[in-house]
Amino acid sequence: MDRKDWMGLLARAPADILADLWDGLGLSPAYRWLRAPEVGGVMVQGRAGGTGAPFNLGEMTVTRCALTLADGAVGHAYVQGRDKRQAEQAALVDALMQGPEAGRVRGGLLEPLAAQMQARDSTRAAKAAATKVEFFTLVRGDD
């Protein structure tokens, strides 16, 4: 899991699951805000016909922040929604992943978070698969 992967995971994570895992880590590093959490919008683009020229589909809410730990590591977060606490925890995770606590954060937070989200996706995919149509051909008469 590289930085791009964990930032994406943290952006999509349900805030309550992230909060529980963060509390479970028992880390409370000192930090300073570089950019306090801020709620804003991002314009989501689609493509005409799914493959053609881009167009503006509509906005989504995003919360971002940046902070620095005492050792100088800088953590960034862009998370979906308006939860400033989630953004703060995501930025702390991002910063810690660049230092000596990386192993603990990976094993105690990122991997279980990825597993939970994977399980959620798999359950939906399994329900979708159960609604797949199996066609059968009726025997036709000879005349």
Partner: protein, 360 residues
């Protein structure tokens, strides 16, 4: 004579207090939570996100609660909130070919790779009221089967290989944004698609239906309809690379339309496209039909004078917030306007009366 008046503060305050009480309804009935609306009125939430043009299910649910279930009022609240948000940037275009599909059907190819996946649909229900829902009760978990691996390809890709369907124009040009620049005509397709995806579902549905009934008929098949979740990525300047900033549920509809060829083009199928926030199937199909009708000029078709072909008519009237804003303002005080009209009518009548008396 113009007389400035003011007043009504107490009446307005009391009206709003009564509104709050009526919104709550009978206090003996438990109050709805925002989470209940988000989870159990999900399709209303999706419509408010799509037409409010802001993907945030909690905010849309709150707006529905505040608006007492008036979805256009809820869209209005979301649009107003949206204007207060700083814009962090634009995402990369979402890759709908990578969608994790809950539903994916084709009306044109029975044996499409990836199969016909119905998802949680109202189709094939009998539309009989289910009185069991009037009582509280647990719901049995939905059956599961082995999920299929990998992304599901778009069905139009298969037609594309044989050149039987028109290819989408490739471009990476930054699209116009009608939330930033006023609408101008002629509009390009990107602007039309933005306008339609946030347009009123009823209006877009009505126009789409008009094309099916023969006003600029373009006989559409649903080549593919898919509903599911896609990741949203954005370039973040301070990082120097793109990251996922979230995931949105989308409904995508690709229509395959008859096209008998023109002076310059051989006969081939053409496309209409719908892409809408949330599970919003009726809207996405409607959008695709209207998109196709509006493409008459680039496809060298005749302008038959149908409403669905007139981009100025469609784009200027599909926004329900603009429409309801102008429509509803006429109920607000127009005392002075009306007084001048009244005086005019009285003068005209007096003049006519005087002219008749003079003639006698």
């Amino acid at each position: 004579m113009y007389v400035a008046v003011k007043g009504g503060e107490r009446a307005i305050e009391n009206a709003h207090a009564w509104l709050a009480e009526e919104r709550r309804g009978d206090p003996a009935v438990p109050e709805l939570s925002v989470a209940q609306i988000r989870e159990q009125m999900a399709l209303a939430v999706n419509r408010v996100m799509a037409e409010g043009s802001l993907y945030d299910p909690d905010l849309a649910a709150l707006a529905i609660k505040q608006a007492r279930g008036d979805l256009i009022e809820a869209v209005f609240l979301i649009r107003a909130y949206r204007t207060t948000l700083p814009r962090f940037g634009s995402s990369l275009p979402v890759e709908t070919a990578q969608m994790r599909c809950d539903r994916r059907i084709s009306a044109t190819f029975k044996d499409a790779p990836g199969g016909q996946v119905l998802g949680p649909t109202f189709d094939y229900t009998h539309r009989l009221l289910d009185f069991k829902l009037a009582a509280e009760g647990d719901v049995a978990p939905a059956p599961q089967a082995a999920p299929q691996a990998g992304p599901v390809p778009h069905i139009t890709d298969f037609l594309n290989r044989d050149g039987l369907i028109q290819t989408e124009e490739q471009s990476e040009e930054a699209p116009p944004d009608l939330t930033r620049q006023p609408l101008e005509f002629p509009a390009n397709r990107a602007l039309r698609l933005q306008s339609l995806t946030r347009g009123d579902e009823g209006f877009v549905l009505g126009l789409a239906y008009s094309t099916q009934r023969g006003y600029a008929r373009n006989h559409a098949f649903v080549g593919e309809l898919r509903i599911g979740r896609v990741a949203v990525e954005m370039e973040v300047p301070e990082l120097g690379f793109a990251i996922q900033i979230g995931e949105v549920e989308l409904t995508e509809c690709e229509t395959v339309n008859q096209f008998s060829g023109s002076k310059t083009e051989p006969a081939q199928f053409t496309r209409g496209y719908g892409l809408v926030f949330g599970q919003t199937e009726r809207k996405a199909i409607s959008m695709a039909l209207v998109d196709r009708a509006l493409r008459w000029r680039e496809l060298g078709e005749d302008n038959l004078g149908a409403a669905a072909q007139d981009e100025e008519f469609v784009l200027s009237h599909c926004d329900n917030i603009q429409a309801t804003g102008f429509l509803e303002h006429i109920k607000l005080p127009h005392y002075v306007d009306f007084q001048s009209e009244l005086e005019l009518v009285r003068r005209l009548r007096a003049e006519a009366e005087a002219a008749r008396e003079a003639a006698e």
